[in-house]
């Protein structure tokens, strides 16, 4: 009797059960995943269909016959207003805007963050707080006066004009994330560098910058996606010749005349989001750190 019942005593690893709760959980998470993926999927399949199929067939079906008509058209022929050059000029403009804006704003943010973290003086935090508060003010409130300032110094509606605007609006948050990063470094390091005879500039270049790689990656990701995705500032400040991709995309899709070509619209939409999506997929964890850093204390 005893020996027999012993056989049924728990022994070894506990057998695993897929509980109802866990099945339900996976079910829910799959449904959510489908909801989140659906627009991306629809975008891609629509861009590969021809207009007849789009009109007659199901939005959610994969294309019967692959049609690549939409892509070259979106790239180089679609009309924005009276110009029909596709998104290509927009892409070039976006690159011309993004690269200098990112470099200038990140360098300035790093320098400010460094000065605030290690060399603060009376009143520095007051201005920083003011600046940070400014980051939350809706752009619409500042757009017009800023436009006036820019026209007064003669850079409104030009490449330097839009770069300056991106730098201004990027600076508070970048200063914040660099400051927080530098404040997390051991202060002893900075003291040691001062005893070793470094001054403001030398310590920045020899000691601080070499240690800033991770936070710089975060800042660059934050800025590249932010500036690439910007619409409002590009619309107002870039001028007709420098319109970024987002503005051109909106113009292409929102045309008031002619037949709407949804496949071209979707191809153009995908083209516009390629850069940020690329940044997102290759940077993965860094992207997450970037938005968390941009948000947590902001």
């Amino acid at each position: 009797m005893n020996i027999n019942s012993n056989n049924f005593q728990p022994n070894g690893p506990r057998p695993k059960h897929l509980t109802i709760g866990r099945i339900g959980m996976y079910g829910f998470i799959f449904m959510c995943a489908l909801f989140f993926l659906m627009p991306l999927y629809v975008m891609i399949v629509t861009s590969l269909k021809d207009m007849d199929e789009i009109r007659s067939e199901n939005l959610l079906y994969i294309p019967k016959a692959l049609s690549f008509y939409a892509w070259p058209k979106a790239w180089s022929e679609a009309c924005t207003g009276f110009v029909c050059e596709g998104l290509k000029p927009g892409l070039i403009n976006s690159i011309k805007i993004t690269i200098p804006s990112v470099i200038v704003s990140v360098s300035l943010g790093a320098l400010n963050g460094y000065a605030l973290a290690f060399w603060r003086f009376k009143g520095a935090y007051f201005f920083f707080g003011l600046c940070l508060f400014g980051a939350f003010i809706p752009y619409q409130v500042m757009v017009y006066p800023l436009l006036k300032i820019e026209s007064a110094i003669g850079i409104y509606s030009s490449l330097p004009g839009i770069i300056l605007v991106h730098t201004i609006f990027g600076m508070p948050i970048l200063t914040l994330i660099f400051r927080n990063f530098y404040a997390s470094l051991p202060i002893d390091l900075f003291k040691a560098a001062r005893i070793d005879g470094g001054n403001f500039i030398k310590i920045f270049f020899y000691v601080i910058i070499p240690m800033s790689t991770p936070i710089t990656i975060v800042a660059v990701i934050l800025q590249v996606t932010g500036i690439w995705n910007d619409f409002l500032l590009g619309l107002v400040f870039a001028g007709r010749d420098n319109q970024p991709m987002t503005v051109q995309l909106n113009n292409i899709v929102q045309v008031d005349y002619g037949v709407a070509e949804y496949n071209v619209d979707m191809a153009a939409t995908i083209l516009t989001s390629l850069v940020p999506l690329f940044v997102y997929f290759i940077s993965g964890r860094w992207f997450v750190r970037g938005i968390a850093a941009g948000a947590i204390k902001g």
């Binding site: 002893d188 390091l189 003291k191 040691a192 560098a193 001062r194 005893i195 070793d196 470094g198 240690m211």
Partner: protein, 357 residues
């Protein structure tokens, strides 16, 4: 002997919080001075003020007969070693050592010579090409000391340099620092909260509390003749035993409840007045188990064998008393013992002022 560092009436406050107030301290040339105290006592602040990393609110700091109060840290002839090592993570050990010299624009040849000398002294030659992340804690601290060495500093400042290391390494590096001081005979100022480090390293210890120097003396004096109750309780482990008592002038007795202790052998009994409330302090090793006319009968309440010696706990009038005995001694719970005190080595403090009498 002339003074190497003179701290003259300095004050320092953070906003409204006053951390140091009118503090003065002279450190002699070649002296090993330890600033000892619990956290928040202002010892690190004082060190940072000497280094020039914090700006004084008031007062002066002189290093090597030079008023450096307003000088940059780099111009004060100091080297500093930090608790967190503060090695530049992006540079190799060699670059770490040479950073200060490169900042001053020293010739490459001289830099190499100095690094080699320092590396030999600290036995870190093999590590020169490595990055700080590839070093152990002990190695990192050696490099940090080396960084102070190559600068030819007149005064070495140590900010709790061993606190991040485990017990074994700490003992090892303590020995090295002592040896270094013996060989270099530079002035050294060393901040710690560890009394063993203080006792073993210091020529003089300055015990601090609440931004004030409580006692400034040799380790021996501080241990044997603590200036006040705080110093007496802070130094020594286990801590000194304290008994509240009243002085009876007529027969030179301390009255503790129903017990009497004759203190006619105490050095300064003349300064005591009749009926004065005092605290009688006696270190665990100065209690003797011995039956005589002056002894007190107690019961063993707890025994803590610690290897080299044994700690026996008992109590007098409800106050717990620890007695340090040889490791070989054998006492059991509830044994009855007669204890008496080595009055010569005891300390008596005034209850109100807490000062030693």
């Amino acid at each position: 002997m002339k003074n190497s560092v003179e701290v003259k009436n300095i004050s320092f406050s953070y906003g409204k919080t006053e951390i140091l107030n009118d503090l003065s301290l002279d450190i002699k040339e070649g002296e090993f001075m330890v600033l000892l105290g619990p956290s928040g006592c202002g010892k690190t602040t004082l060190l940072n003020c000497i280094a020039g990393l914090l700006d004084l609110t008031d007062g002066q700091i002189w290093i090597e007969d030079d008023n450096v109060t307003w000088k940059e840290p780099k111009d004060r002839h100091i080297g500093m070693v930090f608790q967190s090592y503060a090695l530049y993570p992006s540079m190799t050990v060699e670059k770490n050592l040479s950073f200060g010299l490169r900042m001053m624009g020293t010739a490459k040849k001289i830099i190499d010579e100095k690094i080699e000398k320092a590396a030999n002294l600290l036995q870190i030659n093999e590590l020169l090409k490595r990055k700080p992340s590839q070093l152990s804690g002990g190695q990192r601290q050696r490099v940090a000391i080396g960084r102070a060495l190559v600068r030819d500093a007149k005064v070495f400042l140590f900010d709790e340099p061993l606190s991040n290391l485990d017990a074994k390494l700490r003992a090892e590096l303590r020995y090295e620092i002592k040896k270094l001081h013996r060989d270099l005979s530079n002035t050294m100022i060393y901040v710690t909260h560890d009394q063993i480090e203080a006792m073993t390293l210091a020529d003089r210890i300055s015990v601090m509390k609440d931004g004030l120097i409580q006692q400034l003396d040799t380790p021996k004096q501080i241990y044997n003749k603590p200036a006040n109750l705080f110093v007496a309780g802070f130094i020594g482990s286990p801590s000194m035993n304290f008994l509240n008592a009243k002085f009876d002038k007529s027969n030179q007795n301390l009255i503790i409840g129903k017990r009497h202790i004759n203190i006619s052998k105490y050095e300064n009994t003349n300064d005591l007045i009749d009926d004065q409330q005092v605290v009688f302090g006696i270190r665990p090793e100065n209690i003797i188990i011995d039956k005589n006319e002056n002894s007190i009968l107690c019961k063993v309440e707890l025994v803590e064998p610690m290897g080299a010696d044994t700690l026996v706990w008992t109590s007098i009038e409800g106050t717990p008393i620890s007695i340090r005995l040889e490791g070989s001694s054998n006492y059991n719970l509830n044994d009855e013992i007669n204890i008496s005190f080595d009055i010569n080595k005891s300390s008596i403090f005034d209850s109100k002022s807490e000062e030693r009498i």
